[in-house]
């Protein structure tokens, strides 16, 4: 191996770190819009938080008289050291998210609270399937809602650069519409000629592998020259920033991808979740940093961007016996981007009295997450209500697209 040891080690630790916490994939085509009139060139990113984010700890209903008792030692407060940033007189934002707070004040970010998918059990894996597949129930893992939305979009040029981290495409973007991915590596590349011969063999013997290899080769080329310098250490938090920085750079390019997905792992805070500081705070800091990277990296394109942050379900309203929270139901979704009609808390607050909790245990969901995403897809890309209700989110007609999420 030609490259120096330190380079290899960096690459290895970086890859391990990215696989441990973050990934990005994108649609292989540009959408074709007849929007020359206003020069709008919309971007859309969804960030999937796997493991179930504690919405009550991220955007805390400090004004709810039952909140402090339920969240106990890890509850946020509106005063004192590490106070929450009050978004309105009732809700306080976790202090680890100053960038999101700034976006919120600039009316470029919004919070949807007491939101959930249609899934009502508490398995991560089924919950993630429902969140990412967009089907009403688990078990449908062939394609994701974002991929089916792409199929409904008019297809323009193929993108010439793309980036994905992690050897697999997240379910939300899996499906018939072609996607692209790339991962940095310090391995020397196989010679082009070897790759072409292998491709020829696959085309005769194994069409599935032929298609995978074709994409893999294209992506590697496009990613070259992109300065994603490996950075040792940093853990999952640094990985979130890093992958967002790379994604934003690619998505800012005129011929770069417009629609992509990231997945961040590690939100399953069963024990020692921490309050204003601690484990969840670190993760939220990473997410906050990722959002900031998108804003700075997208530059002028931030104006046309909507980022939707969603998780499979929430966590118990009451902390468990180990200062963490177990699997729950209602949680939050975050919207960020220059195109977001922001500065708002969007919620039909159910209250935290035991009688109002879902199964006397979880924040009761009052908003269907599908309505939020459908609203964004409708406003951002002009997808029709029928396609959204039948194809993108099958059997979701009652969850009408939420209006006015995009300026």
């Amino acid at each position: 191996m030609d490259c120096s040891e330190s380079l290899t080690m960096q690459a290895t630790s970086r890859r391990a770190l990215l696989l441990g916490g973050a990934s990005f994939a994108a649609w292989a085509y540009l959408p074709k819009f007849a929007r020359a009139a206003d020069g709008r060139d919309p971007r859309f990113v969804t960030i999937i938080l796997r493991g179930a984010l504690d919405g009550l700890a991220t955007v805390a209903p400090i004004g709810d008289p039952d909140y402090a008792g339920l969240h106990g030692a890890i509850a946020l407060r509106s005063d004192g050291p590490n106070a929450a940033v009050m978004l309105d007189p009732f809700f306080g934002l976790h202090p680890a998210m100053p960038e999101f707070a700034r976006m919120y004040r600039a009316k470029q970010a919004a919070v949807v609270h007491a939101v959930a998918t249609s899934y009502r059990d508490r398995s991560h894996f089924d919950g993630q399937d429902v969140l990412e597949s967009g089907f009403p129930g688990p078990g449908r893992v062939q394609s994701g809602w974002l991929n089916r939305a792409l199929e409904a979009l008019p297809k323009g040029e193929r993108v010439t650069s793309a980036l994905a981290v992690g050897p697999t495409t997240p379910l939300v973007l899996r499906g018939a519409a072609p996607t692209v991915g790339w991962a940095p590596t310090a391995l020397p590349q196989a010679a082009d000629d070897t790759a072409m011969r292998l491709l020829d063999l696959y085309q005769h013997r194994d069409p599935t592998l032929a298609s995978a290899l074709t994409q893999g080769l294209q992506l590697e080329k496009q990613a070259q020259g992109d300065e994603m310098k490996p950075k040792p250490g940093g853990g999952g938090v640094a990985a979130m920033r890093l992958v967002a920085r790379g994604a934003a750079k690619l998505m800012a390019a005129d011929d770069g991808p417009r629609i992509g997905a990231l997945a961040f792992d590690g939100w399953d805070t069963h024990a020692n979740e921490g309050g204003p500081v601690g484990r969840l705070a670190q993760l939220l800091g990473g997410l906050d940093g990722a959002l900031a990277e998108f804003q700075s990296g997208l530059g002028a394109r931030w104006r046309d961007t909507v980022i939707v942050v969603a998780t499979e379900f929430g966590r118990t309203a009451r902390i468990n016996g180990t200062e963490g929270t177990d699997h729950g139901t209602g949680t939050i979704a975050l919207l960020a981007g220059g195109a977001v009609n922001g500065g708002r808390m969007i919620t039909d607050w159910p209250g935290l009295k035991v009688a109002n909790l879902y199964q006397a245990r979880d924040l009761a969901p009052t908003t269907d997450l599908r309505a939020v995403i459908k609203g964004v897809l409708h406003d951002q890309f002009g997808l029709g209500e029928r396609v959204l209700a039948e194809t993108v989110f099958p059997d979701s007609a009652p969850a009408k697209p939420m209006k006015g999420l995009v300026v």
Binding site: M1, E5, T8, M9, T12, S13, R15, A16, L17, L19, G20, G51, R122, S123, F125, G166, P167, T168, V180, A183, T185, L187, P188, Q189, A190, A191, D193, T194, A195, R197, L198, R205, D206, T208, L209, A212, L213, T214, Q215, G216, L217, L219, P232, G233, G235, G236, V237, G266, D268, T269, H270, A271, N272, R279, Q282, N320, G321, T322, D326, R361
Partner: protein, 520 residues
């Protein structure tokens, strides 16, 4: 001699880790009696155990971690004391400081480091330090000395990894090792949880998985759920019965993490007929299942103990049945019943068939395995035998992809490279998205062809193959290797592609990437 090349390919690749190189004669032996070749390994007494000099028991390893962490803590205290500049005061660590009794949760926090979620940083360091040489670099090059000496945790992880890899490389067929990998992934822990998990990842597999791979499912289940590594991985050592003495004193209570995964991932499966109430009840039942800490108040440090003080008293109802037993027997009774539950039989049979045969396994095969599991009370040797004896397992086309672990091990076997250093394998696994004993969640690594046939994964396999070939191809004639791998079962296109390659290096890379080598 009867010769069935296609069946030999299935025997070696679907059930094993592929043909070994050199004069092993694996392909010919497999071709003459494919089923017998696979089943021979099941007949060896204790064939699944891994007893290698130098590999220690979980309590012994636990003690090393506790001591290591205690030393670090002492050094930190001493540094702090020195910083405070009291030159006339003797250093704090001159004698071990008597410390007040640690609560379980405090101990756990210490063990895991300040923050379990942030541990991957340290874990990455450990993985990186394992890569003293480049990915799959040939062992003829002396490994460069790592920048920093490895600590006891990194050393142990490497030693455990090496023992497992060496066993896989030398095994005849590798069916038993494939079973170990399957069950280890089914009951996975992640080394990234923290220092103890990294230290125990290997001993967990040696102690809780291997002794039962050809034994009974119920025994494996009990061994797994009572193993300190699993209790640590899924937080059960922190879970206290709300009405237990410790729960009342410390005003802490349940953590249902382990209970949920027992039902969802280890036995019944999602939709297996349990409710949230069952999960919570099981969580209460297994309160007190923990391991002894550094000071050994509850027992030998690092060993499983039942802490009656933490156990929720009283009967509990799980899946409609009331369990009135006292103490650890209550949980053992529940596990014993769950192991025999029809949902468990179905869940295990499906997962087993999916792993070995097809992403959507033939329903007749699943039914057969489910029946075997039920009829034999979870006899896993009988389950494995039924799989190999079935016709479905030999008729289904080779549509599965080798996992990165299977791919790297198969390469090592073919090229006769018994590793002396696990670094290149561990690096390769990290690159390809299957870091050893470190899946992203308690559901383990994916087990479908699509998961391992993604564009980037295939490109990386090609790069690794090319690199390996550039270093090793001079020692081999790729046409001979193709005979060892597939013989008559090689497709004409594959044969042509290898014969027409412009160099040995290119030919070997193409062979390693051929469908005959990648599919199983």
């Amino acid at each position: 001699m009867a010769r069935d090349s296609q069946a030999a390919l299935i025997a070696l690749n679907r059930f094993g880790f592929g043909a070994r190189g050199g004069a092993s004669g694996d392909f010919i032996n497999a071709a003459s009696d494919p089923r017998g070749f696979v089943l021979a390994e099941l007949a060896r007494p204790n064939g699944a155990l891994l007893e290698v000099p130098g590999l220690l028991s979980t309590p012994e390893l636990g003690k090393q971690v506790f001591d290591y962490q205690f030393e670090i803590q002492q050094a930190r205290n001493a540094a702090k004391a020195a910083q405070q500049g009291a030159s006339e005061t003797p250093p704090q660590d001159a004698k071990p400081q008597p410390r007040r009794n640690l609560s379980l949760s405090t101990a756990a926090k210490e063990i895991a480091g300040r923050d379990p979620a942030m541990q991957p940083q340290a874990a990455d360091g450990a993985n990186a330090a394992m890569s003293s040489s480049a990915t799959m670099q040939p062992s003829v090059n002396p490994p460069k000395p790592p920048a920093q000496p490895l600590n006891i945790i990194q050393k142990t992880f490497r030693a455990e990894a090496l023992a497992r890899l060496q066993r896989g490389v030398v095994a005849d067929c590798g069916f038993v090792e494939r079973l170990v990998v399957f069950w280890s992934n089914h009951f996975c822990i992640s080394a990234n949880k923290g220092a103890l998990a990294r230290m125990w990842a290997g001993s967990f597999e040696r102690e809780a998985i291997r002794p039962h791979v050809l034994g009974r499912f119920g025994d494996m289940l009990k061994a797994v759920e009572q193993h300190p590594a699993m209790l640590f991985f899924l937080d059960n050592q922190q879970s206290l019965g709300p009405e237990s003495r410790a729960g009342i004193n410390r005003n802490r209570g349940l953590n249902e993490n382990l209970a949920r995964e027992i039902m969802e991932l280890h036995t019944l499966g999602v939709g297996g007929g349990y409710t949230q109430d069952d999960v919570t009840a099981l969580a209460r039942v297994i309160t007190g299942w923990t391991f002894a800490g550094r000071r050994g108040q509850l027992g030998t440090p690092g060993s499983f103990v039942f802490n009656a003080n933490a156990h929720q008293p009283g009967p509990q109802q799980v899946l409609g049945k009331t369990y009135a037993q006292a103490g650890v027997a209550q949980g053992e009774a529940v596990l014993s019943d769950i192991a025999r539950h029809p949902s468990t039989a179905k869940f295990i049979a499906t997962k087993f068939a999916r792993h070995f045969v097809a992403d959507d396994p033939p329903p007749a095969l699943v039914a057969k395995l489910q029946d075997t599991f039920t009829r034999t009370d979870g006899d896993l040797r009988a389950l494995a035998t039924a799989l190999v004896q079935s016709n479905e397992a030999w008729q289904a086309p080779l549509t599965k992809m080798r996992s990165p672990y299977e791919f790297l091990l198969a390469s090592g076997r073919l090229l006769a490279r018994n590793p002396e250093d696990p670094g290149r394998y561990l690096n390769g696994l990290n690159l390809l998205g299957q870091p050893l004993w470190s899946p992203a969640g308690p559901n383990g690594f994916p087990d479908t062809a699509a998961a391992w046939a993604a564009p980037e994964g295939i490109k990386l396999r090609l790069d690794i193959s090319a690199q390996l070939a550039s270093q090793l191809a001079d020692r081999f004639d790729p046409r001979d290797l193709l005979e060892l791998v597939a013989a008559d079962a090689a497709a004409p296109e594959t044969r042509r592609t290898i014969e027409r390659a412009e160099s040995r290096q290119q030919a070997l890379a193409l062979l390693l990437m051929s469908p005959e080598f990648q599919r199983r």
